[in-house]
């Protein structure tokens, strides 16, 4: 083991995460190298100090005492702090909708022009109107690819249906589905199934959101939407607009528009490909009488003009949800995604550059050597084997990065066995325990 390898493994060594042989090699290196030994000792000391500080505080439990004091302070009639005024009429450790409205109005009223304050008022009332929901069901359509990432948008694609069922606490559950992908959080675990690939991923715990569905959850939880939109409007200088219109049935509608910016440069490869990386105009339509959200339209704002990418026209509040919604029946032969593990010849792969890894992956596909291809992607589904098997590499370009992605993109051109030529960018990343480049998208 040389110094660079030793430094790379130092933390894993300290944390006891190395295999016996690697750990022995690491220790042997420390014996012979003064500089690495000094580094090891310095980090061990820092670790000991942190451990000692953590131990001091291990038993402390201040949450309930603090919240009790706060509760008490809030209901004291003589308190005149701003927060106590806001919370005076209602204190609960759930959604303080009245307080939310007041706080939102205050923030926007002080910081933004009148039109923005009015728009914020409508949003806040919308949150109040749905503050005590038990469930929500959203049905809309999105321009995307049916089996791709839930956050993926494609302005040139057709609309595909997307649905969300959500049961709010205390028994939180949710399901999101589009034609090629489904996720179910049944209160115990979160499982995503990708239909064409017959591939599934499991998180062994309940989650409030997962697998890039945050943008849709935020619409379902209007209070979060408001907080988020207003926070970002303030922080990023986004604009809020308000308009009113009378529907054909004579009911008055309030329409709030948020002009959202991703902050990415136009040259960034992922700009406008995912919800969080897109410049969008988001239109929230509320019924002015019952103040509830009725519809959402989201438009992609790009140099060639606006394109509507999301349309949510059906929102069911507090309807009972069939228990079957929380079940996900997977085929017996489903392939489960596994994090890459270290291989006996792992070093050969960790030494590769991103471009070399991309080439090795495509070469393995060309030879239909699925064992080798599996070292860059786990699992390689049958659909992918059928698609990529026997390909011919035409060219690979220089890797490039994006501000919002932790991996690398490698431009490629391949000829598939049916003669089709495909030109795209392969996404690879190596932030996994085995430090091997793994194909993450772009096929």
């Amino acid at each position: 083991m040389n110094c660079a390898e030793c430094r790379e493994s130092l933390l894993a060594c300290l944390e006891g995460l190395l295999e016996a042989e690697q750990s022995r090699q690491c220790q042997a290196h420390f014996e012979s190298c003064e500089a690495c030994r000094a580094e090891y000792v310095a980090i061990s000391r820092l670790q000991e100090r942190l451990t000692a500080q953590g131990r001091v505080a291990a038993e402390v439990s201040l949450v309930e005492p603090v919240m009790r004091v706060l509760h008490h302070k809030q209901i004291e009639p003589e308190r005149t702090t701003l927060m106590s005024i806001l919370f005076k009429s209602r204190w609960g450790f759930g959604l303080g909708a009245v307080a939310t409205a007041a706080a939102v109005l205050l923030i926007i009223g002080l910081a933004a022009p009148k039109a923005q304050a009015k728009a914020a008022d409508v949003l806040a009332k919308g949150a109040k109107a749905v503050a005590k929901l038990t469930s929500i069901h959203l049905r809309g359509q999105l321009r995307t690819l049916p089996a791709d990432n839930f956050s993926y948008i494609d302005a040139n694609s057709a609309f595909y249906p997307i649905e969300l069922w959500k049961q709010f606490p205390p028994e939180s559950k949710w399901r999101i589905e589009k034609p090629g992908r489904v996720i179910v959080m049944d209160g115990q675990q979160t499982v995503m199934y990708i239909k064409p690939a017959n591939e599934a991923v499991k998180l062994p715990q309940p989650t409030p959101s997962a697998f890039d569905t945050d943008w849709l959850h935020r619409i379902a939880n209007l209070s979060d939407t408001i907080n988020n939109e207003l926070r970002l409007a303030q922080a990023q200088g986004w604009k809020l607009d308000l308009a009113e219109e009378t529907a054909v049935d004579g009911r008055l509608k309030s329409i709030v528009t948020v002009h959202a910016k991703s902050g990415l440069s136009d040259a960034d490869y992922v700009k406008n490909k995912f919800f969080h990386d897109a410049d969008t105009r988001r239109v929230y339509r509320f019924d002015a009488q019952n103040e509830r959200l009725e519809a959402v339209q989201i438009y992609l704002v790009r140099s060639g003009g606006e394109v509507q990418i999301f349309d949510l026209s059906q929102i069911d509040y507090d309807q009972s949800i069939d228990p079957g919604v929380w079940q996900l029946d997977l085929p017996a032969d489903v392939s489960w995604y596994k994090e890459p593990e270290k291989l006996p010849d792992n070093a050969k792969y960790t030494a590769m550059t991103a471009e070399q890894a991309a080439r090795a992956f495509f070469e393995a596909c060309a030879k239909q050597d699925w064992n080798e291809a599996g070292k860059f992607m786990s699992p390689v589904s049958q659909g992918l084997k059928d698609y990529l098997g026997g390909l011919e590499i035409v060219s690979l370009g220089q890797p490039f990065t994006s501000q919002s992605y932790g991996g690398r993109f490698i431009p490629y051109e391949i000829k598939l066995k049916d003669g089709t030529v495909k030109k795209h960018n392969l996404a690879v990343r190596n932030d996994n325990p085995a430090h091997r480049w793994q194909v993450d998208g772009g096929i």
Partner: protein
Amino acid sequence: MNSLDQDTGAELSDEEYVVSSRNGCPDHFRLLVQRYQRPLFAFLSSRLGNQSEAEEAAQESFVRAFLSLKKLRKPESFYAWLLGIAGRVLKEQFRAVERRQKDRAVAETLLAENPSSEPEYPLEEVIAVLPESYRQVILMRYYEGLSCQDVATRLEMPLGTVTKTLSRAYALLRQALQARESAETTVN
């Protein structure tokens, strides 16, 4: 990017908790207390040398923080701001000791003895200036006592990312501690 990307909705940022706390979600302040109770207590305990006084001071600091939340200009710096409040509570506590004992020597002893076991630049202050992603991993690993694997599960990130983050956090902590030590040496 494709099938394997996961967002990390389970853990919101300090900024998001602060904003929603002041917008009427006290539950989110509860989560901030949960996140910082241990490092705050460790910081105060190393100063006061008395567990029950440290607990009292930590509680008071959180209460003041909540009641002053509107004054926090940079919600993403919640922890550094909280430590500032705790520092003021600490001074008041020392003054109260002086008054109670009517003996300045007691307070001086407290001030003199306790920092000696911990230098002027306690870890918690240095942790406070780490970028949030690094701070979060340090707090979970040491103040919540989670293993690297548990941190990875909790943050829904690969184990390798956790160890890399931790490694970088150590480097930043060491740099910050060295900078403070040099500044201290220069002053002296």
